[in-house]
Structures are given as C-alpha cells and as structure tokens.
C-alpha cells in the first residue's frame, strides 16, 4: 500500500531559500521540481515535451542562450523561436555564433531551450 497522497502533492515543490537571498524564481530549480513532481503523483499527466529521463540542460548553456537572446545585433527576440531567430540572422549576414545552433538542435524538444527566456515578472 503506497503512502497516503495529499492534494498538495500536485503542487510543485519549492526548495527553501537561504537567508539573505532575494525572493524570486530560482533558475535551474524548476527542472528538478518537475522531475520530483512526476515521481510522486501517479496521475495521467499530459505528455510533457521533455521526457523525464533526459537530463536538464546545462546552466552554462542556458546562460549562453540568454545572452544570444539579449544581444541586439540579431534583432528582436520576442515571439519567435531561437532557431528561427538564428536562421534569420544567418540569412541577413549577421554571422551568429555556430555553437548556438548546434545547442538548439540538440535540445530541440526542450521548450526552455527553443523558446526565448521569459521574464515572469519576478526580479532577481
């Protein structure tokens, strides 16, 4: 007989912050929370585009992608996928860095990678 389940099990678990850290979304934590959540609840979840078995992307990679988003030379980043933006920059002759494209194709099914970094209103 498994452990008794609570309704709060379906909510994402948050790590406790250390003292002195500002409130806000902890980058990188979100991936681990989702994985933990899947283990606990055995409901029929919607097919998540990122399979639980795939490792979460490297924070250094996410940082590089974020810098690619915010560099103004390649045009606006809102509303299009990063791969579309990279290809547009390539066609306009702005020579975007090649490793970014390789990383985008490698993690094609990860929505955190393909779409631009979303500002969710909570600062850090």
């Amino acid at each position: 007989m498994e452990q008794p389940r609570r309704i709060t099990d379906s909510f994402p678990r948050r790590r406790r912050r250390g003292p002195g850290r500002p409130p806000g979304r902890l980058k990188g934590r979100k991936d681990k929370d989702k994985d933990k959540d899947k283990d606990k609840v055995q409901l029929k979840v919607r097919d998540c585009p990122r399979a639980a078995s795939q490792p979460p992307p490297d924070p250094a990679l996410m940082e590089m992608l974020r810098r690619f988003d915010l560099s103004w030379e390649y045009g606006p980043c809102a509303g299009i996928t990063r791969l579309q933006r990279w290809e547009r920059a390539q066609e306009l002759g702005l020579s975007p860095p090649g490793p970014i494209r390789d990383a985008l194709l490698e993690h094609r099914d990860n929505p955190d990678v393909t779409y631009r970094w979303v500002w969710d209103g909570m600062g850090w």
Binding site: W72, E73, G75, P76, G79, Q84, R88, L92
Partner: protein, 461 residues
C-alpha cells in the same frame, strides 16, 4: 492602337456579309512566370509583434543604403550608429524614419469614450505643419531637422542622412538619400507588338449601373466582338488582361448586419454575393478568350492586411473552370513575355497620399520606386502581416512595368535609371469612375488609355 489601324476598315461595316468571315487568332502567349511567391502566405500566425518587420527591413536595406551613401558623399564618410554619435562630428546615419503626426488616427483616442471625445472623422490628408521627423535605428532615435522635407516623407522609409548632432540633441541634416532605383533586370521583351490591358476598380455591385455598359464594352473589345475587322485585328494583339483590384464596389461593404436589428437583416443577402456572381459572368466571357489575372483590392472578399491573398476559386465557379483565369495576390509580380510586371491595387499609394504632402499618384509611385520599398507605411498605418524573416515589400530588382490600381486618373511615365533601368510607371484609373483602362505595349514599353464612354441620361448630346 485601335484608332489608327481600325479607321481604314470602318467601311467594311456597311458592306454585305462576306462568304467566309476573316478570323484573327489571338497572338500566342509568350513566356509567363509568376514571381509573387514572397507575397503568398502559407500558414499565418498573428502572435508576433511588428518589431520584426521593421528590424528586417532596416537590416535588409542597410547595405544598399551604405553603398549609396558612400557613392554620393565620398568613400571616406563616417557611417555611424545613433549610439556612436559624437556631438558636432559630421557623419552619416542609416535608419528608419518615423513621422510624429498630431492628426494620425490612434486607437487610443478612439477608445477614450470616458472623456466623451468624438472620434476623429476620416480626413483626406493627416499632415500638419507641426509634424516632426525622427530617425530610428536598432537601439535609439533622434529628432531630425534641416534639409529634409518633413511634409513629404512618411513613416517606415529607410533613409541615410548626412549631418551632425547638435548640442540640444537633434540631428541637423545637410543631405539625405534613399536606396534609389534597384538594379536592372535584363530585357528580353517581344519584338512585335504585344499588348497587356490593365484595368482596375470595376466596381461591381454599386447602386448605379452606369459603369456596367462600359464594362461590357471593355469585355467585347477584348474578345473581339466589337468593331470592324480593324478593331478585331487590333484586339487580337492583346495577350493578357490584368484586373488590379476593387472588382467589387465600396457599396458592397455595408455594415448593415452589424448596425441594424436582426429581424431586418435576417433574410437579406450580403450585397457582395450578387456582385461576385456578376463578376463571375464577366470573367467567364473574358476567360474564354484571353488569359486574365485577377488581383484583389480594398473592397474585395479577401483578407484586409497586405499582402492580400488571392480570391478563392469557389466564388467564381463558372470562370475557374478555365485555366486562363489566374487568381493572384496583391501586390502582384510576374514575368510576361520577358517583361517584369509589378503592381498593387493602390492601397499603398493611397495610404502614402494620406500621410504625405505629395498629391500626384504618379509622383508617389515614382517615389516608392526611388525609396526602394513598395509600401513603407505598412504596418504603421496600413495593415500588414507580421513578417519576421524578411520584408517582401523591399524592391530588390527593378521591374519593367510598375503599376498601381484605383488611381483618380490615368498617368504614365517612362523612367530612365542611372544603371540603365527602364521602368514604365502607370497609374491605372478607377474604371467605375473614369471608364478608362490602359493598354501597355510590351515591345517598346509605351502605354495608352482606352476609354469606353456611353451616352448617359444626363449628357448633353
């Protein structure tokens, strides 16, 4: 074309019928290729903002403008971005123009009902002496003053300005230049007389049926059922008919179903249904005889934003059975017999007319060619699809015939460019108002109007 060749044979109309009536086969269709793929939208997504189209427009036209600036003001001119400007240094900046107009209709003013303000009525022109021009590049913007005509220019044009920044933060312009006429296309036109008929603004479905007789006369002339042998032999040289928009009249756009009560409008049919049936019958007569290209216009049942997609063939069941009917986009680009045609139904020119001091449609048409962009005011004041990858309205090659439909009157001009470009600029008049269509001769790029006037009830003789 018709008068000088037809006159000698006019006597033939009074002769008894000949045993074997002469036939005039229509000249064979030369090469035709449709070049409007950039204007055809596949899957459409409106979840993007318009910043992308401005960014690609600037990035796409910047190299050409930098070359023009160097050619005009010397190779050693300093090309700077706005963020690198030094006060007092003479340099050249490439950017997008923005004109701040007080009278520009704004959606925010329209929804300010709580202030009990009446929304601004539509005006013929929205320019005012106090309008200001600003130059924007990827990051910053700066106010322009000096040798630049604020009233004439419109938002969205890519321009290169030469001048220096003042200490009050404005840029004093000494000279400015546009992208100029695009590079020429090789000429491979026909060696004999071939004509293309350009007509626009048929205006079917309008309340008055006066233009219907003129439309029928036009169809009869093109299909060779009008006139003596001279006219028929001339009509056999027409290889194509292009209908440049506004096939339906503005009256078919009534918003009765929204304004009136439901019980009044329940059984009524939209006026455009009857008008499209009439259009189908007219196109059927034309298509049996000559290839026809139908472009949608402002009042036609297709999408509102540029580029307008072709009319759907299910609306024209009789005419779409023929392969000679081609439903095309607005703007339309095609290569007919080696001659490149590019044209719109006139929304771009009339929008520039509203926001600029230029009054002449031909002058505006020429200006868009010199600015290197079909419709710079899109998407600011003219609806446009949010492109993100490339701006298809940038002129990359110089067409041989550049036309716009629904102009107030017929005008044409042969423009010679510096690199050997030869462009025939044609403003096709509104047929329902002027009963005039244009015949373009592909051999020597000449154009003449042809008017179908009839004696109405209120004419003198």
């Amino acid at each position: 074309m018709f008068s000088e060749q037809a006159a000698p044979t006019a006597q033939g109309l009074l002769a008894p019928p000949a045993g074997e009536p002469p036939t005039f086969p229509r000249v064979a269709v030369g090469g035709y290729s449709d070049c409007s793929q950039p204007f055809q939208l596949g899957e459409r997504s409106f979840s993007r903002q318009y910043a992308h189209i401005y960014a690609v427009r600037l990035a796409g036209m910047r190299p050409r403008l930098e070359r023009r600036a160097r050619g005009r003001w010397g190779d050693d001119i300093a090309l700077r971005r706005l963020s690198e400007l030094q006060e007092g240094e003479k340099c050249c900046v490439v950017g997008t123009l923005f004109k701040a107009m007080q009278l520009q209709p704004s959606i925010l003013q329209e929804i300010s009902e709580e202030h009990n303000l009446v929304p601004q009525p539509p005006l013929p022109k929205y320019i005012q002496p106090c309008d200001e021009l600003m130059l924007e590049d990827e990051l910053q913007r700066i106010k322009l003053e000096g040798a630049i005509d604020v009233q004439r220019l419109v938002t969205g044009t890519i321009v290169a300005v030469l001048g220096c920044e003042q200490d009050d933060g404005r840029f004093l312009v000494e000279d400015h230049c546009f992208a100029d006429v695009p590079p020429p296309l090789p000429w491979s036109g026909p060696s004999s007389d071939r004509f293309v008929l350009l007509a626009s603004g048929l205006g079917l479905g309008s309340v008055s049926g006066e233009a219907l007789l003129s439309t029928q006369l036009l169809v009869d002339v093109v299909t060779g059922q009008l006139g003596a042998e001279g006219e028929q032999s001339c009509a056999a040289h027409i290889t194509r008919v292009i209908l440049a928009g506004n096939l339906l009249s503005q009256n078919t756009q009534s918003r009765d179903t929204i304004n009136k009560a439901k019980y009044l409008t329940k059984k009524t049919q939209a006026a455009s249904v009857e008008a499209v049936k009439m259009l189908d019958e007219i196109l059927l007569q034309l298509c049996t005889s000559v290839p026809v290209d139908v472009m949608p216009g402002e009042f036609d049942p297709t999408n509102y934003t540029l580029p307008q997609q072709p009319l759907h063939r299910c609306m024209l069941p009789l005419a779409s059975a023929y392969a000679t009917l081609r439903l095309v986009t607005n703007p339309y680009q095609a290569s007919l017999d080696g001659v490149r045609f590019l044209g719109t139904s006139g929304q771009n020119i009339s929008d520039i007319f509203k926001y600029s001091s230029m009054d002449d449609y031909l002058e505006i048409l020429e200006w868009t060619l010199l600015a290197g962009h079909i419709s710079p005011t899109a998407p600011d004041t003219l609806g446009c699809y949010p492109f993100y990858k490339s701006d298809p309205f940038i002129l990359t090659e110089c067409p041989h015939v550049y036309f716009c439909g629904n102009a107030p009157r017929f005008q044409s001009k042969l423009l010679q460019g510096k690199e050997g470009q030869r462009v025939l600029l044609v403003t096709v008049p509104d047929f329902s108002a002027t009963q005039t269509a244009c015949l373009v001769n592909l051999r020597d790029l000449s154009c003449q109007p042809i008017t179908f006037s009839s004696f109405g009830a209120d004419s003198e003789d």
